[in-house]
């Protein structure tokens, strides 16, 4: 899957995977491919900088531990210095929060600790790809669901939905990521703001309560995605 073409390419959804472990890299690329995303692959920081500057990738998946003089963060810093603006998901074996901060400061946009589940990887890559300008609308709407951010009320059609403050925050997060599969970790981080691996899936109870309130008022909008997480989307 290695491809170092000298022709500059602009691709809407082509990714660059920078990972020196060949087998993991193959798995990442396969997972992305299954998700409908094509990817190039390199194994060193230097090659990464080279390719990222010549081609315009939609996003990068970058391992921190790379062989040679230039490790992942150094490569990232260099890329940013040279004007690469594509969002970057950093992979690392280091989970310490200061390591994460360093990664984000070097120009990363998100951070995943190994070992990770591939559903988590693809969900976060999706989030990076769909990241647009933050919506400054006063109203968020999907199908017949409306969230009025000023009055902090939610309605489906003309029926008001009674939400607790945390349910409101949760729904707002889901609507802002409408159509994207969101993992439990992403939802938790997005709504509560902490970062940790909740092995007990407490979030399911929150989602279950919210789903009941939202789905019951009309056509189901919040769905569970098996082995991945949840999604809020308009019916087809």
């Amino acid at each position: 899957m290695s491809n170092s073409s000298s022709v500059a390419r602009v691709s809407a959804h082509r990714l660059l995977v920078v990972e020196d472990d060949v087998r993991i890299a193959a798995e990442i690329i396969a997972a992305l491919a299954d998700h409908g995303l094509d990817a190039d692959h390199v194994g060193t920081g230097d090659e990464a900088v080279d390719l990222a500057c010549r081609n315009s990738y939609a996003a990068l998946v970058l391992d921190r531990m790379l062989p040679g003089k230039r490790d992942g963060l150094a490569a990232l810093t260099e890329m940013r210095a040279r004007g690469v603006v594509a969002p970057v998901l950093i992979l690392s074996a280091l989970s310490a929060v200061d390591e994460r901060v360093r990664g984000l400061r070097a120009g990363g946009d998100d951070y995943l600790t190994k070992p990770f589940e591939f559903a988590e990887l693809t969900a976060r890559v999706d989030a990076l790809l769909r990241r647009g300008k933050p919506a400054r609308d006063a109203v968020l709407a999907v199908y017949d669901l409306r969230l009025d951010l000023l009055t902090r009320t939610a309605t489906r059609g003309d029926q008001a939905i009674d939400l607790l403050p945390r349910e409101w925050r949760l729904l707002e997060y889901l609507i802002r990521h409408e159509g994207q599969v969101l993992t439990r970790a992403m939802i938790f981080e997005g709504v509560w703001g902490y970062r940790f691996d909740d092995r007990t899936n407490t979030i399911d109870v929150h989602m279950s309560n919210l789903r009941r309130k939202v789905n019951c008022a009309g056509v189901a909008l919040i769905h569970t995605v098996r082995s991945a997480g949840y999604v809020l989307r308009a019916p087809r």
Binding site: A96, D98, V101, P115, R166, W192, Y194, F196, T200, T202
Partner: protein, 450 residues
């Protein structure tokens, strides 16, 4: 001893020098005084005095002599006539006594009107005798001290050498694996003894930690054995039934689930290790524990409600602490999870935060079974009832690791009823331990089911 000896020598030397100088000065003062007296008297008196003196001065130790201008002896007694290098200032004059013994005088000479020379002298040895006395005393004392010192040093040294040898043997035994050995101490207070005591304390801690690690490794191996076994069984089943698509899919799903569980255990282990290493201390900031508690309460409230449990939170408006908000939240989550899990139907769980900081999570469930209470308080033993609960394996060790990182200790108390886990300031985190040794792995317990 050498130091003391040298010091003493220096002191004695100083005393000697001072004494000798003093005596010399006194001698000179006496010479001048006598000279002044002789000069002032009339010539007749003078001669009479000098002659009278020479009658009584048998040893010729303090001769007063008068010489004529031409060198003839006029009064007093002196074998030879001195040739003063200078008048009216003391000088040393060597001559012999009448009996022929050599003698050295401290001499003062004065020229009288008419050319006569008046001489006043004192035997140098007279003053010297005292100095010699001191030197002898010093030498004797020095010799005595030397003997005593050497003797003492040999005795002391031998005893220290024996002590050090004993320690060395003990250390060798410890290093080869007999962790329960300790350095021998005699109950004294020498530096060596104090050091031995400190080392023994360190060994206590080391032994305990190694014990913990062994116990945790055993437990973890046990925790992972089942998922791994299930994983293998499922995959092998898939192999056997490879024609059956439904069974295959089923097996794969099971395999994925079990593997995720195993990965979670590993991830938790790695995190505990990282936390224990203090690596995450670098991420410390001033955080509001009250907010974190409120968020944790908010997060767990639905789950509690779903089980009919009442969750309460008692926290001040604001409580700033130095810490890692992610870790603190995680610790609270673990404690609340456990409490909710074990509180039983329609129970109560209370999360309280107070300045200190003191964090307390209490439930009024069945509590800790009597036969496990002591074990739980002493050492986070794994209780029987927890064996089949998923994911509860590394919860408390993680909480303990996070607590330690924040300078807190974990106490498991009997709530009477129920169980209360309290985190409060304290623990060896305060001491020297930085990148010390290995992790404080504590095995989780909390198994109280009736």
């Amino acid at each position: 001893m050498g130091l003391f000896g040298t010091g003493s020598m220096v002191v004695f030397g100083a005393i000697y020098v001072e004494t000798a100088t003093y005596l010399k000065r006194q001698s000179e003062i006496w010479l001048r005084r006598e000279m002044a007296g002789r000069v002032l008297s009339s010539p007749a008196e003078r001669i009479e005095h000098l002659n009278a003196r020479s009658q009584t001065d048998f040893g010729e130790q303090r001769p007063f002599v008068l010489f004529a201008a031409d060198g003839r002896l006029l009064a007093g007694r002196m074998a030879t006539r001195p040739q003063p290098p200078v008048f009216d200032a003391p000088f040393i004059f060597r001559t012999i006594t009448s009996s022929g013994h050599p003698i050295t005088y401290r001499t003062l000479a004065h020229r009288l009107d008419g050319g006569q020379m008046l001489v006043v002298a004192q035997d140098v040895d007279e003053a010297d005798d005292f100095s010699k006395l001191i030197v002898h005393a010093v030498l004797m004392g020095g010799a005595f001290m030397l003997v005593l010192g050497l003797g003492g040093a040999i005795v002391l040294g031998r005893s220290t050498a024996r002590h050090i040898d004993a320690m060395r043997l003990a250390i060798e035994r410890i290093v080869t694996g007999h962790l329960s050995e300790r350095l021998p101490i005699g109950g004294g207070h020498s530096d060596l003894e104090r050091l031995a005591r400190v080392v023994n304390t360190m060994l206590d801690e080391l032994e305990r930690m190694v014990g913990e690690v062994k116990s945790v490794c055993d437990n973890i191996a046990h925790d992972m054995r089942s998922p791994l076994a299930r994983l293998l069984a499922g995959l092998e089943r898939a192999q056997r039934r490879d024609g059956d698509r439904v069974a295959m899919r089923d097996s794969i799903e099971t395999a994925v689930a079990e593997t995720k569980q195993i990965l979670r255990i590993f991830a938790a282990l790695l995190r505990i290790s990282e936390i224990e290493d203090g690596v995450r201390r670098a991420g410390f900031e001033r955080v509001d524990l009250a907010t974190i508690a409120a968020d944790a309460f908010d997060y767990h409230q639905p789950a509690a409600e779903a089980r009919g449990i009442r969750l309460d939170c008692d926290a001040p408006g604001r409580l700033l602490v130095e810490g890692d908000s992610d870790l603190l939240f995680e610790a609270l989550t673990n404690l609340l999870d456990n409490a909710i899990k074990f509180a039983g139907e329609r129970g109560r769980v209370m999360l309280s935060i107070a300045a200190g900081p003191v964090i307390r999570v209490a439930d009024d469930g069945p509590g800790i079974p009597a036969h496990e209470r002591e074990a739980v308080l002493r050492r986070f033993e794994r209780g029987e009832a927890s064996r089949n609960h998923p994911g509860s394996g590394l919860g408390l060790p993680l909480v303990a690791a996070i607590a330690r990182l924040h300078g807190l200790t974990v106490e498991i108390g009997d709530g009477m009823p129920g169980c209360a886990v309290t985190l409060r300031p304290g623990g060896p985190e305060q001491s020297v331990r930085k990148r010390a040794s290995r992790p404080q792995f504590w095995r989780s317990s909390l198994h109280r089911s009736g």
